[in-house]
Point group: C2
DNA sequence: TCAGTATATTACTTATACGTATTATTGTCA
DNA sequence: TGACAATAATACGTATAAGTAATATACTGA
């Protein structure tokens, strides 16, 4: 490695870190300002996975009709290790957003299901995240935005937890 | 907000989170594999700030000639709140990388100085971060890369902790 | 069938980061 | 000068995330 040619990759690492901290900080404050004090940023990834199961309509009637998801699959979906999930699901359960239910077919498995509360905050939470992200990207044109997403997926693939 | 026009901003939030977790995970493992078990990812941002003070040469002789930095400025540099800094500096001090010294002119201030150990690991750590980032971006062309950096700075400016 | 392997989750420890409150200084201005 | 605001760092509690080890269950092949 020569000093003139490093492209400051080490600074890029910090830049990504700072950017993520900044966005997350704004989301945290937006949730608080909206009065959603029991919703933490880390819940959002999990909730999005679960909400997807319920399709587009916000029908509370569907609550009983959906099987829920395994903790390990939720973790994969949110990019988290299994060991990170236990505490997260604990907190979400304590906040009344989800509940653990037994899996009939596999007694090792918890099925994580939304509660009525977890389903009903859906549009509020998505609106908040939407507003934060829209504001963050308000000065980024469509082409740069699309490119940005593509690069994120490329990096995600390279650093995916699948490989060691 | 209408459903067809959200551009999946909520998913972007999760995508950025996952990407950051992925990169950080790879850096953590790379540090471990290199035998730098006492270096944690969070140290890197702080070390980069301090190393910058010492110019390009890695001269240990400069150790006594530099004033060190205030904790609050290091925090600004790394994008961290003051309250996040105390513990981080504690751990870095325990790892023998930095030390707190009194400020002659202002008794409220700690000056954080590199130790010999903190200075000597410089090229190893930068090399590791460089390798991880280069691999992460290996399939991203120059133009996309430059655009990516620009977008990060734009977002960082929008979400900067300066504003409330 | 049963021994060994794989899978799902949890328990425990540590690191990371923030918010709030507190303490100790420094700076300001009436 | 002396009250009051501003600044720097810390203490404490909580959330977030990982690694390692343990436990329980399921699967698989001889």
């Amino acid at each position: 490695m020569n000093n003139e040619n490093t492209n400051q990759y080490e600074n890029l690492y910090i830049l990504i870190n700072q950017t993520w901290l900044g966005i997350n900080s704004v989301v945290r404050k937006a949730l608080k300002n909206a009065g959603l004090t029991h919703i933490n940023p880390a819940y959002i990834g999990i909730l999005l996975c679960l909400w997807r199961e319920y399709g587009l309509e916000e029908s509370l009637a569907k609550l009983g009709t959906v099987d829920g998801m395994k903790i390990i699959d939720l973790g994969r979906c949110a990019g988290l290790e299994p060991s990170s999930m236990t505490g997260l699901i604990d907190r979400m359960e304590r906040a009344g957003l989800v509940k653990r239910e037994d899996d009939i077919h596999d007694r090792r498995v918890c099925r994580i299901c939304l509660t009525q509360k977890g389903l009903s905050i859906r549009s509020d939470v998505i609106k908040i995240v939407y507003n934060v992200m829209q504001n963050s990207f308000s000065e980024v044109d469509k082409k740069s935005y699309d490119n940005f997403i593509r690069v994120l997926y490329t990096i995600l693939d390279k650093t995916s937890k699948k490989r060691e």
